[in-house]
């Protein structure tokens, strides 16, 4: 039981993020280069500070190294040069219980029920199924899937599978949630709904989110900061703070500020693509 009780979820805070001072740096990439075994240089000189309670979007054309950056942050692959520095020291391995990871695909085990899928991270940490019961139920309740605990993944819609994937990432009560284009494959209605749910979750949970996306609108709506990346080699070309108050609701999409920010992010993204020597637009 050690894993879950050691990190009990923080009590739901209903302060807005504005009142929660963007705290100390939680984790930082320092001068990170990544060259794969086949010679592809995916990242070059990446420096990025993720502060507590931030919602950072990594925005960039496909192939610019967003996933690679996220995977390095999670400690799934090592950087070729540079380091991942965690607050309080230690390497990624020492912070694994604090990281929740969500892929673009739901990546569920088809042979296991929804509850058993959510149980996986707990099971791997040696928590017995009985002790994990409450944590599983709580995670499923967070994503609104309590009624589907015994269903199998194939019986769920795409949006619901994604919710299960998020519930699984939340089951260890992570301090930081890393999400790699989690909603890219969903239809727009489902995506909007999940965007709002994600914001609410982050708010109740007071966790930090790093969110990879190639959608300008999504990044503006969700983030407190957008980091725009360019390809070949993958690097950061712009940072756009999103000063709009949180929590946000649908009405934010209709404000002039939203429009202005979308134009700004879009311009930065297109700048990034024009800067691409191989012609980023062609790569899309």
């Amino acid at each position: 039981m050690s894993a879950t009780q050691a990190r009990t979820p923080p009590p739901p805070s209903h302060r807005s993020l504005d009142e929660t001072p963007l705290g100390a740096t939680l984790v930082a990439l320092r001068g990170v280069d990544k060259t794969f075994a086949n010679g592809t240089t995916a990242l070059s000189g990446l420096a990025l500070d993720i502060r507590e309670n931030e919602f950072v979007s990594l925005l960039g054309p496909s192939g610019c190294g967003k996933s690679t950056a996220l995977r390095i942050l999670a400690g799934l692959i090592p950087p070729s040069r540079g380091e991942v520095a965690w607050a309080g020291g230690g390497r990624a391995e020492d912070h694994r219980g604090e990281i929740g990871f969500v892929f673009q695909e739901p990546t569920l085990m088809p042979w296991a029920s929804v509850a058993d899928n959510v149980y996986l991270p707990l099971r791997l940490r040696g928590v017995s199924r009985r002790d994990a019961g409450d944590a599983i139920a709580a995670s499923l309740a967070l994503v609104g899937l309590s009624k589907f605990a015994e269903a199998y993944p194939r019986e769920l819609s795409g949006g619901m599978k994604m919710r299960v994937s998020i519930a699984r990432a939340l089951s260890l009560r992570p301090r930081i949630l890393l999400m790699d284009e989690p909603f890219a494959a969903l239809d727009e209605i489902t995506r909007f709904k999940l965007n709002d749910d994600l914001l609410r979750l982050q708010h109740e949970f007071a966790c930090t989110v790093v969110f990879v996306t190639h959608s300008v609108y999504e990044s503006v709506y969700l983030s407190t900061r957008i980091v725009v990346m360019a390809a070949r080699p993958g690097r950061i070309v712009a940072e756009i703070p999103i000063g709009a108050p949180t929590p946000r609701t649908e009405t934010f999409r209709t404000t002039p500020l939203y429009g202005a920010l979308c134009r700004e992010a879009s311009a930065a993204l297109h700048g990034a693509m024009d800067a691409d020597p191989a012609g980023g637009s062609a790569h899309l």
Binding site: L76, G144, R154, T190
Partner: protein, 306 residues
């Protein structure tokens, strides 16, 4: 997120779930389905027609029974010779299932070893392929020289059944979602502190094997088992025939050979009928096992959704 959220999606789910739940109690035959009925009735009807035609033809042209016995005559022989045939059937079944069981043990065991160690994979896999591509008919006379007859027959059944299980299970163990394995690294890499790194890596491989590769490989293994079941019978028969031409044996295939020598063609047919029935039963039984194990989650086992 609120409970009300997935209400819209739940509507979609209900339509997907309904057919499964309807089909679950009492298999899928609880409601007679014309297409399904036809699929059973057509081959049965054809069978009856052929048997009837055969009977008529033999009677009408007075074909001697040592050339082509009538179906009724085959049935009579089956009943009259039942003690002999039954003993032979048991012998063949014993060889087949023992061969299959050993093939499962060996095939799965080796596949697991291959998945845990590249060294084992590189050194052993080529031999498994050689064993597979060499026709068993050609090996069996040799085996009969070096082994007691029963052991040789069993070995033949094992050789042919082994490879589909090995190759399917190996493929299955490798076909886990990459991302799931990464997730596993992320959450499962808590190694015991006392363990040296290599042991830690080995333990996490074993964990991944148990939690991810084993269930992912199950459908592949079962597909291999279905093939292997039929092949084990073929292997047993081939070896019995080889043994039979050396004048020894007691299985169904040996009865076929013996009946041919003695021109006891009705008994030959009876043995042949038993042999193909055995094959059909093995196939159906393994299909049923596969369906039972996979019906909750695997696409191959889920009733077509209308």
């Amino acid at each position: 997120m609120s409970e009300a959220n997935p209400a819209a999606e739940a509507g979609r789910v209900a339509t997907v779930r309904a057919p499964i739940e309807a089909a679950a109690p009492g298999g899928s035959g609880s409601r007679p389905d014309p297409a399904r009925l036809l699929r059973v009735a057509l081959p049965l009807g054809l069978f009856a027609l052929v048997v009837l035609g055969w009977e008529r033809w033999v009677v009408a042209y007075e074909v001697p029974h040592y050339i082509l016995p009538a179906p009724s005559r085959i049935m009579e022989t089956m009943i009259a010779d039942w003690p002999v045939l039954w003993a032979s059937l048991l012998q063949t079944l014993k060889t087949t299932f023992l061969g299959l069981a050993l093939a499962v043990l060996g095939g799965v065991g080796l596949a697991v070893l291959l998945s845990l160690s590249r060294l084992v994979e590189y050194s052993l896999y080529p031999y498994a392929v050689v064993l597979q591509v060499t026709p068993v008919v050609a090996i069996s006379p040799l085996l009969l020289i070096y082994m007691p007859q029963e052991a040789a027959v069993l070995t033949c059944a094992w050789i042919v059944a082994f490879f589909p299980i090995l190759s399917n299970t190996t493929l299955g163990l490798q076909s886990v979602d990459r991302n799931l394995l990464e997730l596993f690294d992320l959450y499962g890499a808590t190694k015991p502190r006392w363990a040296p790194p290599w042991l830690g890596r080995f333990l996490s491989r074993v964990k991944a094997l148990w939690y991810l590769r084993r269930p992912a490989a199950l459908p592949y293994f079962l597909a291999g088992l279905k093939i292997a079941g039929g092949l084990a019978l073929i292997g047993a028969v081939v070896a019995e025939i080889a043994a039979g031409s050396a004048g020894a044996g007691s299985g169904l295939a040996y009865r076929i050979l013996e009946s041919q020598f003695r021109l006891n063609i009705p008994r030959l047919f009876a043995a042949l009928v038993l042999l193909s029935l055995t094959g059909v039963v093995i196939f159906l039984a393994l299909s049923a096992v596969s369906h039972l194990l996979l019906r909750r989650w695997h696409e191959s086992a889920i009733a077509e959704e209308r």
